[in-house]
């Protein structure tokens, strides 16, 4: 790994200022960034750790019933919090392994937008709002493709605000070596609509399966998507699974999520 200058600010404004320097990079829990730096796929000259900023940590319930999670909150903290809804709890407690969950953060996962990461699915499915140091971004506008988000250079995720669905389910088909999602489906059922977000499957990163959503808004049952399928051409193909297999898994995992949220 190339060397860098390590900074650990304790306030958001200090972090934002430090990130203005050339080749500066924000560091969350480091569970993706550190391995990436070891491979020399990233070589920042300044690394700005966000883990000492206490105002970016923790979980709270807002007056409107939504839940806000600080960007620096670890997966383990999310998984063990009493106010978390079912699908989000399942999602957080199954990321990586116990040691990774003690370091990795929700903000880091969303900012990286790995096409097989779990958190983008819950953010998109619930219609979450990503709160940065300068603005609020809706999840529908935030994810812009593989490893690509609406974040500007130096912009950091302060917190994420989740509307709480009446029921929810996350179904992850695990890639056995990495524990990432080969295909993961997050389903959120609200009083007036159901939203389905799929991670791990598409070349374009996380996406909403709108045909399935329309069918479920008509009739919330696993059978209502029997005749639907996602376009195989958009699917990722690698040594773990072909396009055809991933497309098949999207439907199966969605049906499991429908049953899980019923």
């Amino acid at each position: 790994m190339y060397n860098f200058e390590f900074k650990q600010p304790t306030t958001i404004s200090d972090a934002v200022n430090l990130l203005k320097s050339d080749e500066a990079q924000a560091l969350g829990g480091g569970q993706t960034l550190i391995p990436t730096m070891k491979q020399r796929l990233a070589s920042p000259s300044t690394l700005v750790s966000l883990t000492a900023i206490s105002e970016m940590k923790g979980i709270c319930k807002n007056d409107d019933g939504s839940i806000s999670i600080g960007g620096g909150t670890t997966h383990a903290e999310v998984a063990s919090h009493a106010d978390i809804f079912a699908g989000l709890k399942t999602l957080a407690e199954n990321i990586g392994d116990a040691a990774v969950r003690n370091r990795g953060t929700i903000g880091g996962s969303l900012a990286n937008n790995d096409p097989a990461a779990c958190y983008p699915a819950v953010a998109l499915s619930t219609g979450a709002t990503i709160v940065t140091n300068s603005r609020e971004i809706s999840a529908d506008d935030f994810f812009q493709g593989m490893f690509d988000t609406a974040l500007e250079e130096g912009e950091i995720i302060i917190s994420v605000r989740f509307p709480v669905p009446t029921s929810s389910s996350y179904q992850k088909f695990v890639q056995p070596a990495s524990r990432f999602a080969m295909v993961g489906v997050f389903l959120s059922k609200f009083a007036d609509e159901t939203k389905v977000a799929v991670t791990g499957a598409s070349e374009g990163g996380v996406f909403r399966w709108s045909e399935a959503e329309a069918a479920l808004n008509e009739n919330f049952s696993a059978d209502s998507i029997n005749n639907l399928s996602v376009d195989q051409n958009d699917m990722i193909s690698d040594i773990h699974a072909s396009k055809e297999y991933r497309a098949h898994l999207v439907k199966i995992m969605t049906q499991r999520a429908i049953k899980g949220a019923s």
């Binding site: 060397n3 390590f6 480091g30 730096m37 690394l47 392994d97 040691a99 003690n102 370091r103 070596a177």
Partner: protein, 161 residues
């Protein structure tokens, strides 16, 4: 180089490190506590598992400077005060929970982490908690058995494999 200070196994230590110095490098190379192993260096295998501020982490995927001011425990701090093996270590010995022993420090640290919050884990809970710890001798069965025994549960009906 930057000064870093932390408490390791109850003792205050400090040293001078680069930004890129990994916590496991500081522990092994500067503190000479070589019980914490580096197996894969890609955060898969868990041989470098230690506790930082009471939480299980992989020391190969954390910078030494991130542990500035932290309470760190490694395998060297696990034995009882009189130097005898602690309950988990003793159970690994009795139930043949190690073959080559390379993964053992990480396994013991992961087991200690589990038993802190779940004093009587089921076999499934143990296996789930060890998801990030790899034993390349594939001796998982007896590792799980040792942890069940360390938690005071009856393992007499579990055959050795």
């Amino acid at each position: 180089m930057t000064e870093v200070t932390m408490t390791v196994n109850g003792k205050t230590v400090s040293g001078s490190v680069e930004g890129r110095t990994l916590l496991v490098e500081f522990i092994r190379n500067d503190l000479h506590l070589t019980g914490t192993h580096v197996g894969c260096d890609t955060s898969q295998c868990g041989a470098c598992a230690i506790h930082v501020n009471g939480k299980l982490v992989k020391a190969c995927t954390m910078f030494a400077l991130e542990a500035d001011g932290a309470e760190v425990s490694t395998i060297e701090g696990q034995a009882n005060d009189d130097g005898s093996l602690n309950v988990i270590q003793q159970a690994f010995k009795e139930h043949h929970g190690l073959q080559c022993g390379f993964c053992t420090p990480g396994m013991v640290m992961a087991a200690a982490d589990l038993l802190k919050t779940n004093s009587k884990p089921t076999e499934l809970e143990i296996r789930e908690h060890l998801e990030g710890n790899i034993c390349r001798c594939t001796g998982y069965h007896n590792i799980v058995k040792a942890i069940l025994a360390a938690s005071g549960q009856d393992v007499s009906n579990i055959a050795a494999e």
